[in-house]
Amino acid sequence: MAPRTLRLRAPLVAVALLALAATACATARPTAPASDSPDPVAASGLASASEAAPSGYPVTVTDARGTDVTIPAAPDRIVSLAPSNTEIVCALDACDRLVGVTDFDDYPPEVADVPDVVVSAQVDVERVVDARPDLVLAAGNELTPSSVIAQLEDLGLTVVVLYPESLDEVEGDIGLIGRILDEADAAASLVDGMRQRVAELTAAVDGLDRPRTLYEVYYAEGVTYTAGAGSFLASLIELAGGEPVTGDAQGTLPAEQLVTSDPELVLLGTASYDPSLATPAAALEAVASRPGWSTLSAVRDGAVLPYLDDIVTTRPGPRIVDGLEALARAIHPEAFE
């Protein structure tokens, strides 16, 4: 009897293991931009950013869900559930209005003093409520779980969801937060500055060779997680003068497809978190021993670089332009000599 009853639990165990494996993947690539769904925020927010919408409340904005959210008065107790939202709020000189952020927030430095309401990627709803926010800035695409967003709204909180998937949409979201905070002018000048730098950077790499570039977000068990097809990260690599080697919509790139794509340049975003990859020699040695990698052009030519600017490159806030510059310098160092 005993062996059979043990086996009866096998399907549950299998589901549990699968769930754990899936958790590992999900948490391992929170920064991989994915999906290419249309975002209604971009157009509306962007327009108002450059035209400096008239101030005066209530303000109604359309967020990344396509939901119209009405802000009754200028928010002065803001909870940000994503570091990119925090950076936008602070870039608009509203850092002192933040009453809750995530434990992953590290910029600007003064947000270290703001209480954490997201710990280990888990939104602590009790702490959010305790912060008595008049505005909650959540992240879309399940980075803030949709069940949590629904719960916060059921509790009567005002929630705006942001999920920019391109440079235009980051600029659009800056404009949108500018309208919400009655800082539309500051938002417009921030966006203008970003556009000017993007123009300079793209001009610097214009006309140069475009190497097939693999940006590694994460690697495990023969599978590389990289820029998803049509993703934000892929579009940045293109702007920086490279030809992005992409995975599927989620950025998953199996080994065989990687070998077929044959990248000429590998940027190890993982080096930002793994000190053992921090030098070019160690990075090259580490990837050359992976199954199939020794044949890649990038590995044979030694074009494997530890990339230490992962955060600014994958965090869709105002510093995304710093990320673009870091990418351009990594892909085309000759253009910046």
Binding site: E126, V129, D130, Q151
Partner: protein
């Protein structure tokens, strides 16, 4: 204590005085667990305020000296979770006791014959295909499609397993177990396939599968708690059949129990309580397996005591485990119950190698 129980005939069971003591102690523990759960949290609400808010909301006494946010935290976040922990914990532990007796299998838990796989498939399908259930229906019920389909999936799967296992001569326990295994495997494959294609929604799927009381709310409880309550009452009055079934089906029949009818009813009632619980919380392991074993070891197998004690102590365990999970940064409560349950279960297994069962 155990020796005296073992030498006593099963049907007689413990004395009235001792049963009263066990249940009274369980009630005291439950109130204490609820108090701890209400007072403890990750925000700065003072424990005294938590109690004052409860008294104010329930009895209308005292004056408001706390911010509105504290009242939301205590009344809308902590209390629904505690009540959900009680209801789900009680449902899981008592269903576990029923299935262990019914299937005469020490490893039986409330999920064994299909509830977990069926509820998971229902919930995951609802998460990935929001159009599956018309919004009008879920709005009318006041809860999400995920909860509705988890409940329906869990209950329907057990009924299907029962239908598969049922032959002309009744429903043999071994056939029931194997049919449960087969149907669960099939549905788990469906869950795995949906997870594989889930893409961006995978995180939502995983967090549901891991089980949590974090989504507990009054509307969800308003629907699930009465279902579980009704099944409690109908299970409690069947203690005689359960005791008889412990002796074996032939002996139970000899004692005048309509074995097949009781098997059907007990399975349906336990599946009802489990599925309604799963709809609130997702699947939470070990409560339904370990609590009945623990109580059986301590107080003997008489279901007149075992069933109500399972409800009380199952509620205590889950409320405490969920409080621990909340304080530990919102980790899934299944991790906490497993951390408590797994070592105990290993001990139980080791022990059963030495001492023959029964």
């Amino acid at each position: 204590m155990r020796a005296t129980v073992a030498t006593r005939p099963l049907i007689l069971g413990p004395t009235l005085g001792r049963s009263t003591l066990v249940l009274a102690a369980g009630s005291v523990l439950l109130v204490a667990a609820a108090g701890i759960g209400l007072a403890a949290g990750t925000s700065g609400v003072a424990p005294g305020d938590a109690l004052a808010i409860l008294l104010h909301r329930l009895l209308g006494i005292g004056s408001v000296t706390w911010p509105a946010s504290a009242e939301t935290i205590v009344w809308e976040l902590r209390l629904p979770r505690i009540v959900a922990g009680m209801v789900v914990g009680a449902g899981l532990a008592s269903s576990g006791a029923v299935f262990q007796a019914l299937l005469r299998n020490p490893m039986a838990d409330p999920y064994l014959i299909g509830t977990a796989a069926g509820a998971s498939l229902g919930a995951v399908a609802a998460l990935l295909l929001p159009a599956l259930l018309p919004v009008a229906v879920t709005a009318w019920l006041g809860i999400g499609a995920v909860q509705v389909l988890a409940f329906v999936g869990g209950l329907a799967t057990v009924l299907m397993v029962f239908a598969v296992a049922r032959g002309r001569a009744g429903t043999p326990v071994v056939t029931l177990l194997l049919a449960g295994y087969a149907v669960s495997s099939l549905l788990s494959a469906g869950v795995a396939l949906l997870m594989f294609v889930a893409g961006d929604r995978l995180a939502a799927v995983v967090s549901w599968l891991l089980g949590s009381l974090g989504g507990a709310s009054w509307p969800r409880l308003a629907l699930a708690a009465p279902l579980i309550g009704v099944s409690f009452v109908l299970l409690l009055v069947r203690w005689r059949s359960l005791n008889a079934l412990l002796l074996g089906e032939a002996q139970a029949a000899a004692l005048g129990v309509d074995v097949e009818r009781e098997k059907r009813r007990l399975t349906a009632l336990a599946a009802l309580a489990t599925s309604a619980g799963v709809a609130i919380s997702g699947t939470i392991g070990f409560v339904g397996l370990v609590v009945p074993h623990l109580l059986r070891l301590a107080f003997g197998p008489d279901h007149r005591l075992l069933l109500p004690a399972s409800m009380l102590y199952g509620a205590v365990l889950l409320v405490l485990a969920d409080t621990g999970a909340r304080l530990a940064g919102g980790i899934p409560v299944g991790i906490v119950t497993a951390l408590i349950g797994a070592p105990f279960f290993i001990w139980l297994l080791r022990r059963s190698l030495v001492v023959p069962r029964g």
